[in-house]
Amino acid sequence: MTRIKRGYIARRRRTKLRLFASSFQGAHSRLMRERTMTQQRIRALVSARRDKKKRKRDFRRLWITRINAVIHETEVFYSYNRFIHNLYKKQLLLNRKILAQIALLNRSCLYTISNEIKK
């Protein structure tokens, strides 16, 4: 076999690792020979994958909380569950993301919607 020098292969890999872990705190962005950076990178990627799935759940929870907060202010004994039930009865297709945005930005609009639904 001919002699092969390894050149810059290892350096490239380590540079990429360094760039990835550059924003980590403390030793997690500094220690390459003790393999801390590698391990933290793996943990970061695993968390990212897991939280991509969790993100959908988290945001839905947030939207529901926000809608619930605004709906409680409209009337006594009116809450998110009744609101959603009325929404489905009147065949509206607005999803919670949009309702939460409307609750934040155009609150009067949401009041209009809830009054329409209650009839």
Binding site: K56, L92, I98, S108
Partner: protein, 267 residues
């Protein structure tokens, strides 16, 4: 939900705005520029859409996107349509798409399949000024399974829409809600008379996400990269609701004080 491109654009705009003095608001100018460009692709933080502060943001900041077809530079806003005379009037579906064997060759099937994404293709016309100043009217539109709350001049990232090209005019037919400062029109479930006009800005790939799978102590790890295909639409018009006429208060001739001109909305 999140397209990373959406977040990048937001952070870019936030930095440009913070560097600009925010007390100088520009009233609705008779220039064909899309005022009040906010991106409303499902960001939970509420962007204050009443201020047309995004007028001042410069758009061309080193975009990296791989659009197909012609060179549509995003440098000038209202000239998306009259960029080149390269109208691709050919049948887009006939020749090139051999990867997925669907029989989309008759144009009627294209229309039928486009209904799934709730859009109808309009013809593309170069040298036509579409972009109006911002109007405080919003619509909730559904594309595929995603809903968007849009207003005039917004840009949206959706899943890749198959049957349209860049600089195509689209009409989004599934409108769930129309709202303005004075009026709310609720569709059950959709509003048949309301339409939202949009223009396809680009077909691009999202930023690469790394998918890393690991099972511990079992000597198993896999790394994959993924780039989602997106379409960026720019909303040009909303029809089906009365738009309030803005009365522009002209600035006094003193150059010292820069008053905030108030556009009164007559509902």
């Amino acid at each position: 939900m999140a397209s990373l491109r959406c977040l990048r654009e937001l952070s870019r705009r936030a930095t440009t705005v913070l560097s600009i003095n925010q007390t100088r608001l520009i009233s609705s100018l008779p220039i064909s520029e899309p005022c009040g460009t906010t991106i409303t692709h499902a960001t939970p933080r509420s962007l204050t859409r009443d201020l047309p502060w995004c007028n001042l943001c410069s758009r061309s900041q080193g975009r990296h996107f791989s659009s197909k077809a012609n060179d549509t530079d995003e440098s000038s806003e209202g000239e998306d349509d009259d960029d080149d005379g390269d109208d691709e009037e050919e049948d887009y579906e006939d020749s090139a798409e051999m990867e997925v064997e669907r029989e989309y060759s008759p144009a009627e099937k294209v229309e039928a399949a486009a209904e799934i994404g709730y859009k109808v293709m309009g013809p593309l016309k170069p040298s036509e000024r579409l972009f109006k100043p911002y109007e405080p009217v919003f619509a909730v539109v559904q594309i595929g399974s995603h809903q968007f709350k849009v207003s005039n001049g917004d840009s949206i990232f959706t899943e890749k829409l198959k049957f349209c090209d860049i600089n195509d005019k689209l009409v989004l037919t599934k409108v769930l809600l129309l709202g303005s400062a004075s009026q709310t029109i609720i569709g059950r479930p959709i509003l048949p008379d309301a339409t939202v006009h949009a223009v396809v800005e680009e077909h691009a790939l999202d930023e690469k996400v790394l998918i890393f799978k690991k099972k511990r102590r079992k000597n198993y790890r896999r790394t994959t990269g993924h780039r989602q295909e997106l379409t960026k639409l720019r909303i040009t018009d909303i029809q089906g609701i009365e738009k309030p006429e803005p009365t522009i208060v002209h600035k006094p001739s003193k150059a010292a004080d820069t008053e905030q001109p108030e556009a009164e909305l007559v509902g």
